[in-house]
Amino acid sequence: MPAAVKIEGLRFTRGEGPDRFELRVPSLRIDPGRHTAIVGPSGCGKTTLLRLATGILLPDAGSCEIDGVRVDRQSDRDRRGMRARKVGMVFQQFALLDYLSALDNILLPARIAPGPGATAEVRRRARDLARDCGIAGVLARKPAKLSQGERQRVAICRALVMRPMLIVCDEPTGNLDARRSGEVIDLILSEARAVDATVVAVTHDTGIVGRFEGVFDLSAAPADRARVAVGATA
């Protein structure tokens, strides 16, 4: 069984001189179904790593695989297709579309992905997810009329609706207090577990790291980041 996420000898640079940013990840492997947190101080490249892993960014060197497929070798079109099919994303600012209702936001991946679109089955799943997340009553509202927490849940539902094998979360609890953060993480993890999805979450919230099965720390010596995520490798 291929790894859900596998990174080897990755090197990624941006900018020149004092602004130069470099990310090196000698090796990272996350097995299917594992829930992994990526931690590290601000600016250490946690989000960049996620983007590289999912093919949004391309590395200067090294390889990125998802589900055994070399993402860095795929065309832009294929990478987008792969994300649409296999990856669910929860963004830091939720990135909901303000002109869509909560339900339409949840259904967005179905609508834009190649395929049958927002079928009845997908809609039922969206409603089930919304019910599980406690937002069944606000599905008709647009983001402007939703509370912060409700938006968060909509974003989570959106990430889950296509039953992706990998769920990628970028600071999913960034703006929440500790109690709420715990709830949200629990929700993501339990929903992911229900569909056997792998979860990779970037966070700097140490309070929730404990809920993950593995932790990958980017804070240690950037130039010599050869460690593998604790417990993340088999």
Binding site: R80, G81, A84, M89, F91, L97, Y99, I112, P114
Partner: protein, 392 residues
């Protein structure tokens, strides 16, 4: 595909003002040229359709336009009348069908032109009564379908002709015209007219009148003089204003028929030879002219085309500026929505899908604008129809 269309629709509906203004701008830019062209086109084809029905019009010398519009659209003009003689002479011409028209009168307060002509006019124009019959004597009239509807008149109804000089008591009085038939609709100016026999027009002119037999008038105050063979009647002898079956026979002309007035003569030569004969004959006349209605319309249209060219130029500028506006809004919109586009890309939305979304939005706005422009154009045409009828 449906997804991008759906998103485009959602976006457009989320910003109704923006979408509305955009659609309205495009609609105006489309409706102006389309509407003006359509109206002019309709105007033009309606003019030509009418003009083509008459190969030649003979009438008094003067404005060709006046003559054409008097003959085709029954517009009262200042043109001198043409004597009946011209018509009588054309009647003698073999291979020429000539139809006299005297269209100087109106009825019902100027509302309806009274077209005095011969039964051949109805025949030639394919005008047959849907109801009732054609006129069988002086004072009887058939009415066009639209005029009948507008005035609420049917067979058995009547209408008074308009007196031309209301305050001149010596001018011929208005005459009651009995409606004996309602013509089928033809979509031509005939639908708006009251059509009577030529003889009736001469009653309206005061040239023909009816009264009791002079010999039988007993009242001394009405007879100025009486001799063996002559009875002089007072001007106070009341001429009939209402023509009935009983007094119709008493209507008589004063003066020779040859000098009686016509406003125009419609001429249908059977062939080129007959046409040439008519033109030669009329050209030789000092007072008459022969015109080809389609040529007159050609000249009119040439003028209208210049107006259209102007409108077209304005429309082109308007359209161009609207397109620029749409372009600007498109670019701005793309910038404003950059974050959204990035999110969509990260979720896995193909580049084409995003493009399609924008295309659908623009297409939708254009489609709505086009539909609005279409409706506006049709409405304008609908409004133009009565305007045209009133204007002609």
């Amino acid at each position: 595909m449906t997804g991008s269309a759906y998103l485009a629709l959602r976006y457009a509906l989320h910003h109704p003002l923006r979408t509305g203004v955009l659609a309205a701008c495009v609609a105006v830019a489309l409706a102006l040229p389309a509407g003006s062209r359509a109206i002019l086109e309709r105007f033009e084809s309606s003019l030509y359709a009418r003009a083509r029905t008459v190969p030649l019009v003979v009438g008094a010398k003067g404005s060709r336009f006046d003559l054409a519009f008097s003959a085709l659209y029954f517009r009262a003009t200042d043109l001198a009348p043409t004597p009946y003689r011209e018509y009588a002479e054309l009647l003698d011409e073999p291979s020429v069908r000539a139809i006299p028209v005297h269209a100087r009168f109106t009825a019902s307060g100027g509302d309806v032109p009274v077209v005095a002509t011969s039964i051949e006019y109805l025949e030639t124009r394919g005008l047959a009564p849907d109801e009732g019959r054609v006129f069988a004597r002086v004072g009887e009239a058939v009415i066009g379908s639209r005029a009948a509807e507008r005035l609420g008149l049917g067979v058995g109804g009547w209408v008074f002709s308009d007196q031309r000089e209301l305050y001149d008591i010596t001018s011929p009085p208005s005459v009651k015209l009995d409606i004996v038939g309602v013509l089928g609709e033809t979509g031509t100016p005939d639908d708006d007219a009251l059509i009577v026999d030529l003889e009736t027009a001469w009653v309206l002119e005061g040239i023909a009148h009816g009264h009791d037999e002079a010999e039988e008038i007993e009242r001394a105050d009405l007879v100025i003089g009486r001799s063996e063979e002559h009875v002089a009647l007072s001007g106070a002898v009341v001429t009939y204003q209402e023509i009935t079956d009983e007094n119709a026979a008493s209507f008589h002309l004063h003066g020779p028929r040859d000098n009686l007035p016509l406003s125009s003569i419609l001429v249908y030569p059977a062939d080129d030879k007959a046409r040439t004969i008519v033109r030669t004959r009329v050209d030789a006349s000092a007072a008459a002219q022969a015109i080809v209605p389609t040529r007159v319309i050609d000249d009119l249209i040439a003028f209208l085309l210049r107006i259209r060219a102007l409108i077209d130029a304005l429309s082109a500028i308007l359209l161009l500026s609207t397109l620029t506006l749409i372009g600007c809004i498109g670019v701005l919109s793309y910038r404003v929505r950059a974050a959204e586009i990035r999110t969509l890309g990260e979720i896995g939305c193909a580049r084409g899908t995003v493009g399609l979304m924008f295309a659908f939005e623009a297409g939708g706005v254009l489609a709505v604008a086009g539909a609005v422009a279409g409706v506006v154009t049709l409405a304008a045409l609908g409004l133009a129809e009565p305007l045209m009828r009133a204007g002609l």
